[in-house]
């Protein structure tokens, strides 16, 4: 007994070290299983506040570019609305849909990214909107030029989302020209490209084909422009093409984003 106590006393620093390492390893493994321990992320109020303060300072320098890009997007949307109105205008009274018949399954919440990463194996970003603004887990996040991620964890004022550059992100995407669809994943270290998997071999793909969201999920609406085909090949013996997609959105410079609320995903919200 005496020897045991002596042993523990003699090696107490080492034992403490081993104990803490085991705790850390458990955290890492748990994190790998269910993506993250609930309280250890940047959507907590303290880290969220700090990031928001710093972000205000950083964004001040980019006001001009941000305003320009928002204005051009606004112009595009305006044009779309006018075109739609004009289309309806030419319809006869019978064909013309009543206002109450226009479906409104989607609601858009604008948000700003206050913390972002692209160089880790699994990347996340933090939004300055939370459950108070109607954000719930599992909603899709889109950006002016493409898709950005999926909300994973939200509290009152902030939410964290997994980026599309995350090993768990699988986005249902299709080729616009011929509607073949597959799932979009991120594998490589390069944040400019993603891989579109499981496109059958009979599909005719051309370099430069447009890739859009397929709408086969409750996360993103159909037809969001993601990027273009950069190159494609078949893995030895496989019946499917592997397509490398060049993203249109530069994930590293995400700033303003929109969270898609899809009411039909949960009938209770309607």
């Amino acid at each position: 007994m005496n020897n045991l106590l002596l042993f523990i006393f003699r090696y107490s620093a080492f034992l403490l070290f081993v104990l803490l390492e085991i705790v850390a390893l458990i955290l890492i493994v748990r994190y790998n299983e269910d993506q993250r321990a609930i309280f250890l992320n940047s959507s907590t109020v303290f880290t969220g506040k700090l990031y928001k303060m710093a972000d205000k300072a950083y964004k001040y320098g980019h006001l001009q570019t941000t305003a320009d890009s928002l204005a051009s997007e606004n112009a595009k949307l305006k044009a779309e609305v006018f075109n739609m109105e004009r289309t309806f205008q030419h319809m006869s009274g019978k064909e013309k849909p009543l206002d109450s018949c226009i479906l409104e399954p989607f609601k858009i919440i604008s948000a700003s990214i206050i913390n972002n990463s692209i160089n880790e194996r699994n990347n996340h970003f933090t939004l300055d909107r939370g459950t108070n603004d109607g954000i719930r887990n599992g909603m899709g996040v889109i950006s002016p030029h493409g898709i950005a991620g999926i909300v994973e964890e939200s509290n009152g004022q902030y939410a964290t989302a997994i980026s599309v550059l995350h090993s768990a992100a699988r986005i249902s995407a299709s080729i616009k020209r011929n509607n073949f669809f597959g799932s979009l994943v991120w594998k490589a270290t390069n944040p400019e490209y993603m891989i579109l998997e499981a496109i059958p071999r009979q599909a005719d793909i051309l370099i430069g084909d447009t890739i859009i969201t397929s709408g086969y999920s409750f996360i993103y609406p159909r037809g969001i422009y993601i990027g273009t085909v950069h190159r494609f090949w078949t893995e030895g013996g496989s019946n499917y093409y592997t397509v490398e997609v060049k993203l249109q959105e530069d994930i590293a410079r995400l700033d303003r984003v929109y969270v898609v609320v899809y009411n039909e995903a949960n009938p209770m919200i309607q």
């Binding site: 107490s12 620093a13 080492f14 403490l16 070290f17 803490l20 390492e21 705790v23 850390a24 390893l25 458990i26 955290l27 890492i28 748990r30 994190y31 790998n32 993250r36 321990a37 250890l40 992320n41 940047s42 907590t44 880290t47 700090l50 710093a54 950083y58 972002n116 990463s117 692209i118 160089n119 880790e120 194996r121 996340h124 964290t160 270290t189 390069n190 944040p191 530069d250 590293a252 410079r253």
Partner: protein, 174 residues
């Protein structure tokens, strides 16, 4: 809480803020080099603790600081794992590098007190341990050993520049 303690705490907080608000931003840029590297200055908080501080406290402090960094990096346990190991390794490195006659009460792990050669060896050994374990824990498999080593090497260069830069510019006494 004497003045020295308060000074250490304040300096630690400043390093933490520099790490998560400035260096993290720089190293999440889109240049290809940042796909393979990072800049870490926060190990210096552990490295600058007084030489005669009890090893248990250093190890526990390393663990807590690691968890704090993890929160900012949206991870769980990866920094804590590496930093606890570094805090333990610091004790071993210090005992190997003990000058003849032992450490004096007035000595602290800085250039001013121990000289640049001692400091270089001390910092680089501890940092190498930290970075290797960090990237091992992040990638979590030895299949990508090449990638782990490449990331360790590049990050080592940048982090060494940051840490030695601090020592050379400010030349802290304690």
């Amino acid at each position: 809480m004497n003045r020295e303690t308060i000074k250490h705490i304040l300096r630690g907080i400043i390093f933490l803020i520099v790490q998560v608000l400035i260096l993290k931003r720089i190293s999440s840029g889109n240049h290809w080099i940042w796909h393979y590297s990072d800049i870490f200055i926060y190990p210096i908080i552990i490295l600058l603790l007084p030489i005669r501080m009890t090893r248990h406290y250093v190890i526990m402090f390393g663990f807590v600081l690691g968890l704090a960094i993890d929160m900012f990096y949206d991870m769980a346990g990866v920094h804590a794992f590496a930093l606890t190991a570094m805090a333990y390794a610091r004790g071993i490195v210090l005992s190997y590098m003990e000058p003849r006659g032992g450490y004096q009460l007035t000595m602290s792990p800085t250039r001013h007190s121990m000289g640049i050669n001692w400091l270089l060896v001390y910092t680089s050994v501890c940092l190498a341990v930290h970075l290797f374990l960090y990237f091992t824990a992040e990638i979590f498999t030895f299949v990508y050993i090449g990638k782990i080593l490449l990331k360790t090497l590049l990050t080592f260069v940048f982090s060494m520049m940051a840490i030695m830069g601090y020592h050379l510019l400010f030349n802290p006494r304690k």
